[in-house]
């Protein structure tokens, strides 16, 4: 428990600007993407609490992003969406944002009207 608290205390939550900065800093690992045709690409990835990146969606050459060690962070796995344009073999990062967690109301209950469930549970 003490160990866990120390780990959490020593780490910052992983924000999109931190991830964006680190990818820009290590952009040279993406040499394999120089063959990409000229267009805008969508790259989705997650970074777990140990700082390990896993590509969820995107061109094969973006897999090398997993070589970057991101900071440890106390939150559960976070997902990011990166838009990057390729132009004549050069990558131009456009935007990097954190994806919102999925929002499922009353997980496990199957009903067509979860608003009614909410109303009933809040206002007895």
């Amino acid at each position: 428990m003490i160990l866990f608290l120390m780990c959490a205390w020593a780490q910052d939550y992983l924000r999109a600007e931190v991830v964006e900065g680190m990818i820009k800093e290590h952009q040279d690992v993406l040499t394999g993407c120089s063959e990409l045709s000229n267009q805008l690409y969508r790259v989705r990835f997650s970074i777990d609490s140990k700082g390990k990146l896993t590509l969820i969606e995107g061109e094969e050459c973006f897999h090398v992003l997993s070589q970057i060690s991101f900071p440890l962070h106390p939150s559960s796995s976070r997902r990011f969406l990166w838009h990057v344009a390729a132009q004549d073999g050069v990558l131009f990062p456009q935007s990097l944002t954190r994806e919102k967690q999925s929002y499922v109301r009353f997980p496990g209950l199957i009903t067509s009207d979860k608003e009614k469930v909410m109303t009933q549970l809040v206002e007895k």
């Binding site: 020593a10 109301r105 997980p107 496990g108 209950l109 809040v122």
Partner: protein
């Protein structure tokens, strides 16, 4: 001291045995209608799952990727696509078959995707039978955490009593027991109780079942100022492709 703490938070990747397995999963489900409890919604789901190891972790557990290769759902006789084909989650489990955690579960769920109610798929894949001899029956727990969103956390525990029906190169096991769910979503408490029974074929070395058939009946509730419960029934089969 701080440095030591960081070191202990890391894991050491080691290549696991490389194998890929495909599973055909079939689930018939019935969900009691909340507005009209005498009626229920019927669902038939067929999935093909591909499970492959990603890496071995420091505690000797293995991270597996579980990909939906194909999906087909029929809800109240209407053919539906759940939108999960090609999507994957990762499980961390010991090779003998005990499930420890599941990540990226949110990839499989969206409002009314039904997958949040079909967590039985984790028990199908990871029933965690004990070592049992022909002349005895033994109990074991199969546990799995569920988290589809930051504001939700649940834990499912299935306590089963197992008997060995036959053994050769493969073992045929029978089980029966009770399910318990505890959790929360936002400010609402989630709870549930159920009963399950079934049979499975396992490799004698353990791992995911080669075949698994069974049924589960449960009542899933949410409690706030009031309590709402839904009766849910599942029958299921799963078979690993040769």
């Amino acid at each position: 001291m701080l440095l030591l703490s960081f070191v202990s938070c890391l894991h050491v990747p080691i290549s696991p045995k490389s194998y890929v397995h495909h599973y055909d999963v079939h689930i018939d489900a019935s969900f009691q209608q909340l507005q009209n409890p005498k009626k229920s919604d019927q669902m038939v789901l067929d999935l093909v799952l591909r499970i492959s190891p990603v890496e071995r972790l420091k505690d000797d557990s293995v991270l597996y990727r579980v990909v939906v290769e194909s999906e087909q759902a029929v809800v109240n006789e209407e053919l539906l696509t759940l939108g999960i084909q090609g999507k994957w989650v990762e499980t961390r489990a010991f090779e003998f078959g005990e499930l420890l955690s599941i990540v990226h579960m949110e990839e499989w769920v969206a409002e009314n995707s039904y997958m949040d109610a079909l967590d039985i798929v984790w028990f199908l894949l990871y029933p965690n039978p004990p070592n049992v001899r022909t002349d005895q029956s033994r109990a074991s727990l199969s546990r799995y955490p569920l988290q589809y969103a930051e504001s939700q956390k649940s834990r499912v525990v299935l306590k089963n009593t197992w008997t060995l029906a036959s053994i050769g190169k493969e073992a045929k096991l029978l089980y029966e027991g009770d399910m318990n769910i505890r959790g929360k979503w936002d400010d609402f408490r989630q709870s549930g109780k159920g009963h399950q029974k079934g049979e499975l074929m396992m490799d004698v070395n353990g791992g995911n079942p080669l075949e698994h058939t069974g049924s589960l009946t449960r009542r899933l509730c949410y409690t706030g100022a009031d309590t709402i419960c839904q009766k849910q029934e599942f029958t299921f089969t799963m078979k690993r492709r040769p």
